[in-house]
């Protein structure tokens, strides 16, 4: 009997649940619908291109050469912030692995006691006290976890996101803990850019009209009309949004909490996350630590497909993860364990029945989960 083992290296992002799209081999993470994001990109680059083509040559010569330079810097900053917001992990919480889900279920059942038949079990809620305020943690049936405080499940991306603010179609991603400050800086810098372009459009038209007349100016620089139109409408929305988020930051609230009215009305002044000091709140949100992504997108999963010539049906695909699932980290201390796990992978073909796959780490196929369950009982 000859057996052929085909090993395929798969990155973890390929197996992540949720409705995200990944690019550049897991480096970029976005929502599925990206149409509005492309529109945002088009509007910003288009308007700036028109500005550089029509206004800048005139203004650089007749007013100040620093004007286009500053516009370029501002434009680059806006693009950097937009791309950073759109492409980064907003703070997605990975779903619970089967053991953790089972452990939580057992705890819930223990807490609920015996529910008489026919009666609906009580909602799955855990109460925690944060800074002397009772906060209810809800159970997420999709991710099988009790959501941490301020986390929420985004139905568009089908993920629980930590410190969930909102899902923004304009940036094509959720806005959460990890990318909120980039989102805020994007809206702020975009407001500045819009105001900048709008102001210098007006200045340019006025200056040119003084020499040649208003209608002639518009004929010479048709782009100006388009720019003014785009800027006018953008101004109201983006500046308003920036103002709204500045208000939220000063109170250390998320859009989600604001919409739900968690800390307003009769609950006003009870936000347990606020430091009760505007400066401190701003500093925490904007200058706080840069949280790492807990979704290891580019880590490696090894998939072994066993094909044996004696049976025509190929064996189940198993994901072999090492005992300590750190094979992706560049730590020197880990390779001995990873190496022993990989060595264990090869003798498996001789003992297909005695699977020694520990049910850990990576998302497994159903076949593996059932094998693991059989071993446990």
């Amino acid at each position: 009997m000859s057996a052929v083992m085909i090993t395929r290296k798969v990155r973890k992002w390929e197996k992540l649940p949720g409705k995200n799209t990944f690019c550049c081999d897991g480096r970029v993470m976005m929502a599925r619908q990206k149409g509005v994001f492309y529109l945002t990109l088009f509007l910003i680059t288009g308007t700036c291109a028109l500005f550089f083509a029509f206004e800048c040559p005139y203004l650089a010569v007749h007013l100040c050469p620093a004007i286009p330079v500053f516009a370029v810097l501002l434009f680059l900053f806006v693009m950097a912030m937009l791309l950073r917001t759109s492409f980064s992990d907003p703070g997605v919480l990975p779903r619970a692995l089967p053991e953790e889900a089972t452990f939580i279920e057992m705890e819930i059942e223990a807490a609920n006691g015996n529910v008489p038949a026919g009666q609906r079990p009580p909602p799955r809620i855990r109460n925690v006290q944060i800074n002397n305020q009772i906060v209810k943690l809800k159970y997420c049936y999709t991710c099988k976890i009790f959501r941490p405080p301020r986390a929420s499940h985004c139905s568009i991306c089908d993920n629980c996101v930590d410190r969930f603010d909102h899902h923004c179609p304009w940036v094509g991603n959720c806005v959460g803990k990890r990318n909120y400050r980039y989102f805020y800086l994007f809206t702020l810098s975009l407001s500045l850019l819009t105001i900048y372009i709008f102001t210098f459009d007006i200045v340019h038209v006025v200056m040119r009209s003084m020499n040649g007349g208003f209608l002639n100016t518009l004929k010479e620089t048709p782009g100006t009309v388009l720019e003014v139109l785009v800027c006018f409408f953008t101004l109201w929305s983006v500046v308003g949004l920036t103002g709204f988020h500045t208000y939220l930051i000063s109170l250390n609230q998320t859009t989600n909490e604001d919409i739900k009215g968690s800390w307003s009305g009769k609950n006003r002044g009870q936000n347990p996350y606020s430091h009760k000091n505007i400066i401190k709140n701003c500093c925490e949100v904007l200058c706080g630590p840069t949280y790492p992504s807990v979704l290891d997108r580019r880590g490696l999963l090894q998939e072994d497909t066993l094909i044996s010539s004696s049976n025509p049906v190929p064996q189940t695909t198993k994901t072999t993860a090492p005992l300590i699932p750190n094979e992706h980290t560049p730590d020197d201390a880990k390779p001995s364990i990873a190496a022993s796990a990989e060595k264990n992978a090869s003798p498996k073909e001789e003992h297909p029945a005695a699977t020694k796959v520990p049910p850990l780490a990576s998302p497994e196929t159903d076949a593996e989960t059932s094998i693991a369950k059989e071993r446990a009982h």
Partner: protein
């Protein structure tokens, strides 16, 4: 007590996974990363309470250090903002540096304290910083088929 395991590799080869305990997050001080120091009953016979509490307290201190909002984090934030966050392409953030220290600490704790007792701690970052997963192993040579949900004390009877 359970069988002595001399190192982590032996643990894998000679032991089978019996149970897992999950240490939950402690949200009493807000959303900063902190784990409960409550000693789980499943570990009662496996490890001394003080050792366990020390491990969790040290981990909590590391996370507090990573998430501290003070002079250094402001500097890092302002510098990064001034460079449009491009500086993170070449520089490691403070949090990432502390995470490396944590990984090393957990590795060291596993080797010195937990593996000899048939236990294994999984780095919380592998579980989305939600739980500290402690795997409980038992020697394959001792009890026959082990029921996953049964308490570990059953395996010590030999």
């Amino acid at each position: 007590m359970a069988t002595e395991f001399h190192n982590l590799q032996e643990l894998r080869h000679s032991a089978s996974l019996a149970n897992k305990v999950f240490i939950q997050r402690d949200y009493s001080e807000g959303t900063t990363c902190k784990f409960q120091t409550k000693f789980p009953s499943e570990l009662e016979s496996r490890i001394e309470r003080t050792l366990f509490e020390d491990t969790v307290k040290t981990l909590n201190n590391y996370y507090a250090e990573a998430e501290k909002i003070g002079g250094q984090s402001y500097l890092e934030g302002c510098l990064a903002c001034a460079t449009a966050y491009l500086i993170f392409l070449c520089m490691e953030t403070r949090y990432e540096k502390v995470l490396k220290k944590i990984a090393k600490y957990i590795q060291e704790q596993n080797e010195k304290i937990y593996a000899p007792r048939g236990l294994l701690i999984t780095d919380p970052i592998e579980r989305g910083m939600r739980v500290i997963e402690i795997s409980i192993y038992e020697d394959r040579g001792s009890s026959g088929s082990s029921s996953g949900s049964s308490s570990v004390s059953g395996s010590t009877a030999r």
